[in-house]
């Protein structure tokens, strides 16, 4: 499995050391995994205030 890192701000999972959306540093210490495919029709995305498709972490430290 790839060593994904999570953005401390938007929780987006990425391979990079910097979040491609927020330009903030990412962290290796994360847990929980959510794949948002269609944020417009997803109740989970609405609860998490996610508007862009992608993979996200539930918790980032």
């Amino acid at each position: 499995m790839k060593n994904l890192k999570a953005c401390k701000n938007c929780h987006l999972l990425t391979d990079n050391d910097v979040c491609p959306r927020c330009s903030l540093p990412t962290s290796k210490r994360w847990s929980g995994y959510v794949i948002i495919r269609d944020p417009d029709h997803s109740q989970i995305a609405k609860k998490m205030n996610i508007t862009t498709p992608g993979s996200y972490a539930l918790k980032v430290r």
Partner: protein, 172 residues
């Protein structure tokens, strides 16, 4: 093939069809892999799955948000690590608490007596001397050690066995 139009509300309906949340049993430890496999399979077979959720608290299960229970059931039959899909859907309220996980040190206070549940000191009891909320770490002093050495561990690595308040209440 699912036509997107099929999910459009009819002229009499004013509300959009709400997605349902289904529970899938997976091989323990393979929850994230299963989510990735279901994600790519859903793209290939063009099944509407708006979201997939893997929570660390619930091992061996993942949640899949979708519309057509039968189609999802058929699709996952050939996905590796999938055991089965539970019948029926669950309301979003039941999984809401997973989406906003509380801090691991939220319930721990300085002076509490804890038991180490992981790491090299597993099974030992200790007293909490400091809490780092940002890092979700706590510093403890082991009772068994002859010299009190502060040890910093992650919040998830301990279990509270006695609260400081309980002690003070008894004294009163």
């Amino acid at each position: 093939m699912v036509n997107e139009d099929s999910h459009q509300p009819s002229s009499n309906e004013s509300t959009e069809e709400l997605s349902k949340i289904f529970t899938i049993k997976t091989q323990v430890g393979k929850e994230q892999n299963t989510a990735d496999l279901i994600n790519s399979r859903a793209t290939k077979s063009k099944i509407e799955i708006p979201a997939i959720l893997v929570t660390p608290e619930l091992r061996g299960y993942i949640f899949v948000e979708g519309f057509d229970e039968e189609r999802i059931k058929n699709m996952i039959k050939t996905v590796s690590y999938v055991r089965s899909m539970l019948n029926g859907d669950i309301p979003i309220e039941q999984i809401e608490h997973f989406l906003t996980p509380a801090s691991a040190v939220a319930k721990i206070a300085e002076g509490d007596i804890v038991e180490m549940v992981a790491g090299p000191f597993r099974g030992e009891t200790a007293k909490v001397t400091h809490i780092d909320d940002a890092k979700e770490e706590i510093t403890v002093e082991l009772f068994e050690s002859l010299v009190p050495i502060p040890i910093t561990v992650r919040g998830e690595q301990v279990r509270i066995i006695k609260r400081k308040d309980e002690d003070s209440e008894k004294k009163e």
